[in-house]
């Protein structure tokens, strides 16, 4: 094997993993940007820049936008900050328990996705208006969930193995 071939095979084995891993903190930083802006808007008590004819202020000032005086965007900011930190940690080659890091990213992204779906429900059925920033944030969360699952798979996790493990643990039924 020539040096060139060795380098190419090395790159092939590293590249897909790195892109998947790198995308997590990048998306996390985008999420931090969106949620920081919304948190700033809340505490500055000003109107937001809203695109595509959506009514961001209607959504952001609704009774669903805060838990007490704490805006939901602050919770989002915390979530994205943790995801970004985990994402950067996951980039390190020396990390010991990559399974826990990848699992943590998956857990946060999954709970963020559930919460985004709940916010979509509120926007459609209760508030009857949309906020472009909230949609942007949910797209970031959905993408993070997809990435986190892909990431889990690159660590060797397989859903078929998981299902067979589950089957072994479950009492046997005759269908």
């Amino acid at each position: 094997m020539t040096d060139k071939e060795t380098l190419s095979s090395k790159l092939d084995s590293i590249r897909p993993l790195s892109i998947l891993r790198l995308a997590v903190p990048i998306l996390g930083l985008i999420g931090i940007g969106i949620s920081s802006y919304l948190t700033y808007i809340h505490y500055q008590d000003t109107s937001s820049i809203c695109m595509f004819g959506a009514k961001c202020d209607t959504v952001l000032n609704s009774k669903y936008a805060d838990i007490g005086d704490v805006p939901l965007s602050l919770f989002g900011l915390l979530m994205y900050a943790t995801l970004t930190a985990l994402g950067f940690l996951n980039l390190s080659q020396r990390i010991g328990r990559r399974d826990v890091i990848a699992g943590g990213i998956y857990m946060l992204a999954l709970s963020g996705t559930f919460f985004s779906l709940y916010l979509y429900y509120l926007e459609i059925f209760e508030i009857h208006d949309f906020c472009t920033w909230c949609i942007g944030s949910s797209v970031v969360t959905f993408a993070l969930l997809w990435l986190s699952v892909a990431n889990l798979r690159t660590t060797g996790f397989s859903f078929s193995e998981y299902l067979s493990w589950l089957q072994n643990k479950m009492p046997r039924f005759k269908w």
Partner: protein, 248 residues
């Protein structure tokens, strides 16, 4: 050599593989976390509640144990924060006596005592009548959110709304008053139409009922109860001795 590297990679990969047990634990944790935040956002309409400015001074007023959102408390009060006398007014926008007080004695009280830093007036909602009262209170709270409680209060009192007329203060009329004052209508509607301050109105109304209020307006002047729409003289007879006692 190549096989050795492959074996190492596989071993590495296996040591980093999420076990099915951990996968279930993470999935369940995600569900629990999402449900927790959803229920928190539903239960607590006003969870970050701070004491009203009056509670910083130990006066025997009914507010000393009552807490409401600080920004609204400030917007629904007038007069110096350190005024020696605090008057808490429980009022209703559809009550004729409250309307009379707002249009006459309150203005005299403002000139003689509030503007001179001797009295602080704190407004509290009482839902004396039905849906119209309730709607008006919520609209006033939405105006307070934009720091325009008092202009909205006077405008609303000037309408002389009466509980004898059904649907006398419909949503459109209250929105019209807000527009007349030049409030940010997107913001007003966002709060008003989603019932953002329903819990606040309910809280203050319950608070008033717990204090035994059965008619409006009702005043607590440093804890001294005064019912009805008092004249300035009646108020003076209560306020002046307090000021004298405090040496103000």
């Amino acid at each position: 050599m190549r096989q050795q590297r492959k074996r190492k990679e596989n071993a590495d990969r296996e040591s980093h593989t999420l076990s099915p047990g951990l996968f279930i634990a993470f999935t369940m944790s995600a569900v629990v976390l999402a449900l927790l935040i959803i229920s928190l956002s539903q239960i607590q309409s006003f969870p970050t509640i701070s004491p009203s400015p009056n509670s910083s001074t130990p006066k025997p007023t009914p507010t000393s144990t009552i807490v409401v959102p600080s920004s609204l408390t400030a917007a629904m009060s007038k007069g110096a924060l350190n005024a020696p006398v605090t008057i808490i007014e429980y009022s209703d926008f559809q009550c004729a006596a409250c309307q009379t007080f707002a249009e006459s004695v309150e203005k005299e009280l403002e000139a003689a005592y509030i503007d001179t830093g001797k009295v602080r007036l704190v407004y509290k909602f009482m839902v004396g009548w039905g849906d119209d009262s309730w709607r008006a209170d919520e609209a006033a709270a939405c105006a307070a959110e934009q720091g325009q409680f008092w202009p909205f209060y006077y405008l609303l009192m000037e309408q002389h709304s009466s509980p004898s007329k059904d649907n006398d203060l419909p949503v459109e009329k209250l929105q019209g008053l807000a527009q007349q004052l030049g409030l940010d209508m997107n913001r007003f509607n966002a709060s008003f139409l989603t019932g953002k301050y329903e819990a606040l109105v309910d809280q203050q109304d319950n608070e008033g009922r717990a204090l035994g209020i059965t008619s409006t307006p009702m005043f607590f002047i440093n804890g001294i109860k005064q019912a009805g729409a008092p004249s300035l003289k009646v108020l003076q007879d209560i306020i002046d001795p307090i000021l004298e006692e405090l040496g103000k």
